[in-house]
Amino acid sequence: MTNFAQNSRAVYTPGQDDAGTCFNIQDVNLYYGSFHALKDIHMDIPARQVTALIGPSGCGKSTLLKSLNRMNDLIPGCRITGKVELFGEDIYAPQTEVNLLRKRVGMVFQKPNPFPMSIYDNIAYGPRTHGVRSKVKLDAIVEHSLRKAALWDEVKDNLKKSAMAISGGQQQRLCIARCFAVQPDVILMDEPTSALDPISTSKIEDLVLEMKNEYTIVIVTHNMQQAARISDLTSFFLLGEMIEMGNTDSLFSNPTDKRTENYITGRFG
């Protein structure tokens, strides 16, 4: 299933049995001012699979994640070259509507960031943004999204309650439900469990495994056990370069690059 290119940068090529390529990343370089944060990234992210990005802090994995739904547009002085295609469409093309891109490519952040409003309004915010006005429809979307995020039973009697009043783990599942509500193709997750306790973490991990039936998941994680547990593919980053990408099992059991081996065996990072 996995082929590696001849040079030191390994490139994953999806096989025949896949749902196709979701993101096709070609020759991406990204700069924060004069700092070269991503160097010549080539990578294909397959659809309906979980792809984990691992690597030590500051290696560029979160930066790459942010460049997939153009959240890096918000960072002053950030400049990107190369090409990122989402199902064949260049997302950095001038005619790309960023808001529509972000509707297709949702994001879950490191720290749960529900809006300071009710649970219901948090979920309804996205659909309302995209023009859903009917109360019946919104009710249905809210229930459906919360059920999918395994949160419905915990909050169904308190939908009017402030989202700031529920626990951190619930807040993070609320943020995932909020993503579901705008019906994206892809969900990007930036260390979604790093602020959570082990039980909440395992709930989110279970959720991720279910989500991949419907969504393409790209997840940044510092926790290598987590990457091993939930991802199909893993990509290792170091100092802005993608060192190696491959099937998670083979990357963890049999890394081709010495640096990958050092990292996953805990010799640095």
Binding site: N113, P116, T129, C175, C179
Partner: protein, 302 residues
């Protein structure tokens, strides 16, 4: 020094265990309490003094010694016998509304521009910021001169409520602008990211997510402005004047604060000015309550 692990330091490094409330922290605590009491005490003293001196002014005793409410204080027309403050009350409300109508949209709009739209750290932002800060610190008599020369004379608006409102609008604008900007900047970036991440645009993110969170700060600036407008005398005497009637936009009219000042200055009805102070106090409290209510209603809708 030996090279193997722990060494014996040359100085005593034991950390003492002090009693939890040693003298220094007790003193500090007392100081904080004292500061709090003085603040509240001064406020209560002012209110009590005004009420004690002002409330009796609302009543008069007839020959039999029974108390009567002096309804003439609220007669539609002012004259030097009834000293009616009703025109001044209405003028105060008009003046506050007109001034806020000028400074709130401009100030909040400008604040939103500075915090959300302008390129952070750009030259223009810095200039606007320094200008606003300088303007906020200028004494109101300077605004009076400016208002008189620009609005009254040059723009030929005459001594009128409009000239006064424009002057007070200019005066309170920097306060609202700066406070709005500060409040917006203190809204966590993560809210904006969450909103953009769902495909919401800048306008929707600002209006629906950021502004409601910043609302208490903006409201505080509006309340402060109401206080400044209803308490202002210097800037108004030269711009909206001391007309005694219920003033339209183009008429000269005195607000309660100007009325109070005139009564005191003329020296013939010092007692009545305390009655004015009581009313002014009540009006400011009511206007504050009203604007909190409006702000709450504005931010409720999701």
């Amino acid at each position: 020094m030996s090279e193997t692990g722990a060494t014996t330091p040359a100085v005593d490094i034991t950390v003492p265990t002090r009693p939890s409330m040693h003298l220094g922290s007790r003193f500090l605590k007392a100081l904080c309490w004292a500061a709090g009491f003085v603040t509240i005490g001064v406020l209560l003293l002012i209110i009590a003094y005004i009420l004690v001196n002002g409330l009796p002014e609302f009543f008069s005793r007839d020959e039999q010694g029974t108390l009567h409410f002096k309804a003439s204080l609220f007669a539609l027309k002012y004259n030097s016998r009834n000293l009616s403050m009703l025109p001044a009350i209405l003028n105060t409300l008009t003046m506050t509304a007109l001034s806020l109508l000028i400074s709130v949209p401009l100030g909040v709009g400008g604040g939103i521009y500075l915090a959300e739209y302008a390129k952070p750290g750009s030259k223009l932002v810095k200039i606007i910021r320094v200008t606003a800060e300088t303007l906020a610190g200028i004494p109101s008599i300077i605004y009076a001169l400016f208002g008189m020369l620009v609005f009254v004379v040059t723009l030929k608006m005459g001594i009128s409520m409009l000239s006064g409102a424009l002057t007070l609008g200019t005066m309170t604008l920097p306060l609202i602008l700066r406070q709005t900007e500060e409040s917006l900047l203190s809204v966590p970036m993560s809210y904006r990211e969450g909103s953009y991440g769902l495909g919401a645009g800048k306008l929707r993110t600002t209006v629906r997510i950021v502004l409601p969170v910043a609302m208490p700060g903006i409201l505080a600036a509006v309340l402060l402005s109401i206080g400044r407008i209803s308490g202002e005398t210097a800037a108004l005497i030269f711009t909206s004047g001391t007309g005694t009637g219920i003033a339209g936009i183009n008429d000269s009219g005195r607000t309660l604060a100007v009325h109070l000042f005139k009564l005191q200055e003329e020296g013939r009805a010092v007692g009545a000015s305390f009655a004015v102070a009581v009313v002014l106090l009540i009006i400011v409290v009511l206007m504050n309550a009203l604007s909190s209510f409006i702000a709450k209603r504005l931010t409720k809708k999701g």
